[in-house]
C-alpha cells in the first residue's frame, strides 16, 4: 500500500519538460538574472568601479591638450571622449569573453557535463547566457554614462536622433564581436585554457582602437592594424554620434556600420560552426567534465 502511494505521483501522463528554444533561452536568462540580483553588493561594487574609472579620467582630462581631439572631430572634452570609450568597452568584453568565462566556471565546477545530459540545446544555453551578459552590460553602461553625464558633467550631445544612432551602432558593435566570443568559447572547450589570449585581445583592442586616445597619435603602421579591428569603427561612429551630433545619414557612420555588419556576417557563422565542432570534439573525447 505504501509502495503504491510512493509510486503514484510518478504514474499517469508524464508532463513533458518545456523544450522550445524560446523557453530554454528565457529560463537560462531568468536564472542568470536571479543570481545577478542576489549579489547586490557585487552589483554596487562593480558599478562604483566604473564610476571611479571615469572619475580618474575626469582628473586626467585636465592635463590633456584638446587640439588632437578636436582635429579628429571629437570635440574638446577629454572626459566625454574617454567616457564613451570606457563605457562601451563593457559590451566588447561581454561579446568576446562572456561565453568563455561562463564555460570555464561550468567546466571547473563540473556542471557543464550535467547540463549536456539534459534536454537543453547548447545553442539555447549560449544565447541565454549571452543575453544575460548583455543585460548586465547595459546596466553597467547606463550607470557609467549617467554618472559621467550627471555627476562629472561630461558634455555629450543627447538628442533622440543621436541616442537612436548610438543604439544601432552598439547593436552592430556587439554583432561584430559575437563571433570572436564563440571562437574563444570553442577554444576553451578544446584547450581548457585561453583566458590570457582573450585578456590580451582585450588589452590590444583597448590600446589600438583608441579607447583612451585618438588614433591620430599612433604611428601609421599601428593605425593600419587598428583599422582591422571592428571596435575601432564602432567606437569612432559612437563618438561622432555623441560628440559631433552626427546621425545615421552620415557617410562615415554608414560606412562603419557596414564594416561591423561584414565582420558579423563572416565571424558569427564561423564562430558557431567552430563552437559546434569544439563541443562535439569535447563530447566524443569525454572531456566536457574537466578543466
Amino acid at each position: 500500500m505504501r509502495v503504491d502511494e510512493v509510486l503514484a505521483p510518478f504514474k499517469g501522463k508524464e508532463k513533458t519538460a518545456p523544450h522550445s528554444y524560446f523557453h530554454q533561452i528565457t529560463s537560462i536568462l531568468n536564472a542568470r538574472l536571479k543570481i545577478f540580483v542576489s549579489y547586490k553588493i557585487w552589483v554596487l561594487v562593480e558599478l562604483l568601479n566604473s564610476v571611479v574609472s571615469i572619475a580618474i579620467y575626469y582628473f586626467f582630462g585636465v592635463m590633456v591638450e584638446s587640439e588632437e581631439l578636436e582635429s579628429a572631430g571629437y570635440g574638446d572634452s577629454y572626459l566625454a571622449f574617454a567616457l564613451i570609450g570606457i563605457a562601451s568597452q563593457t559590451f566588447l568584453w561581454t561579446s568576446v569573453a562572456r561565453i568563455s568565462f561562463v564555460l570555464r566556471v561550468e567546466l571547473q565546477e563540473g556542471t557543464f557535463e550535467a547540463l549536456n545530459a539534459t534536454r537543453l540545446r547548447i545553442e539555447s544555453y549560449l544565447l541565454g547566457q549571452t543575453l544575460a551578459g548583455f543585460v548586465l552590460s547595459t546596466w553597467f553602461f547606463t550607470g557609467a554614462m549617467l554618472s559621467g553625464i550627471f555627476v562629472l558633467s561630461a558634455s555629450l550631445t543627447l538628442t533622440p536622433e543621436t541616442i537612436i544612432t548610438s543604439l544601432i551602432i552598439i547593436f552592430f558593435m556587439i554583432l561584430a564581436h559575437l563571433g570572436i566570443g564563440f571562437i574563444a568559447a570553442g577554444g576553451i572547450l578544446i584547450l581548457k585554457r585561453g583566458e590570457p589570449l582573450i585578456a590580451l585581445f582585450g588589452v590590444l583592442t583597448q590600446f589600438l582602437s583608441g579607447v583612451l586616445f585618438p588614433l591620430g597619435v599612433l604611428p601609421p603602421e599601428l593605425e593600419t592594424v587598428a583599422m582591422t579591428l571592428p571596435f575601432t569603427y564602432a567606437l569612432r561612429s559612437l563618438r561622432f554620434a555623441l560628440l559631433d551630433e552626427r546621425s545615421l545619414s552620415d557617410p562615415t557612420i554608414i560606412n562603419d556600420i557596414i564594416i561591423c555588419g561584414i565582420f558579423a556576417l563572416v565571424l558569427i557563422p564561423f564562430g558557431i560552426w567552430f563552437f559546434r565542432k569544439a563541443h562535439n570534439y569535447a563530447k566524443t573525447r569525454g572531456t566536457l567534465g574537466h578543466y
Partner: protein, 299 residues
Amino acid sequence: MDYRDNEKLWNVIESFKEGEQKPRKGVSFNEKVSTVVRNGFKIFWSYRAWIALDLIGTAVLVALYFYLSVIVDPDTIEDAGYGASFFTFALLGIAFQQYTYSSVETFSHEIRHGQENGTLEAVLTTKTEFPTFLIGIGLLSFIYATYFLICAFIVAFIFFDPVITTNVFSLLSVVALTFLTIIAHICIGIASVGIIVKIKEGDPLLWLFGWLTMLLGTIYYPLDLLPAYLVPIALMMPITHALDGIRRCLSGSETLLSPEVFVDVLALLAFIIIMLPLSIKVFRWGYNEARKDGTLHAY
C-alpha cells in the same frame, strides 16, 4: 602472493613500521617560507604561455601610456616638480603601484582562493603557522611585482626612451622608499586578511583602498590637479608619498636628504607606526573569531 616477494612493496611497508622511522626534525621558518615561495614559483613557471602573454600585456600597457603622453600637456607635470615627461611620470606610477597591489590584494586573494578550494584549513592543520604562510605568499608576490617593474622598465627603455635622471644615492633612496612603501601597504593587507577570514564576503576595506589608490594616489596625475578638499585624503595615503619620493629621486636625482623626499619618508614611517599595531589587532580579531566559529575554511 606474499608481499615479501615484491621488493618495492616490501620497502614501502617497512618504511612505515614503528621504531625504524627517523624522527622528523623541525622545519625552520626560513625553510617554510622558501618552500611556499618555491612552490608558487614552480606553479608560475609552469604557465609559460601565460608568462609570455603577460609580458606582451605589460608592453602594451607601457605603449598605451607612451601614446597617451602625446596628448598631455607636459607643463602640468613639470609644474609639479617631476620633470617634463608625462610618460616617465606614468611609467613610474604604474610600475611601482604594482607593489601596493602585491602588499595588499595578494593576501586576501590567496586566502579567498584557499577558502574556496578548501585548502586553507588543510595548510593550517600542519605545523606551518598562519603568519609564516602569509609571509611566503607575500614574498612571492613581491618577486612578481619586481619582475613586472623590471619588464616595464626594459620595454620602456628599449622602445620609448623615458627620461630618468638618477645617480647611485638616488637609486639607494628609491630602494629605501620602496621598502617603506611595501611595509606600509602590508599593514593594510594584514588588516584586510583579518576582515576577510571573519566576514567571508568581499573585503570592503580592500575595495575602498583600491578606489582611493586609483583615484587619489597620484598614479596617473599629480596631486595639484585634485580639488583642495580631496588633497588631505590623498596625503593620508602611503602611495601618494611613496610615488612623490620615488619620482623625485628618479626624475630629478633627489635623495632621502632632499627636504621633500625626507618629508615623504617621515609620512611613510608615521603611517607604519600607527597602522602596524592596529592591523595586527584587526588580523588577530578576525583570525581568532574565525577559529572559534570553526569557519576558517569556509567562504
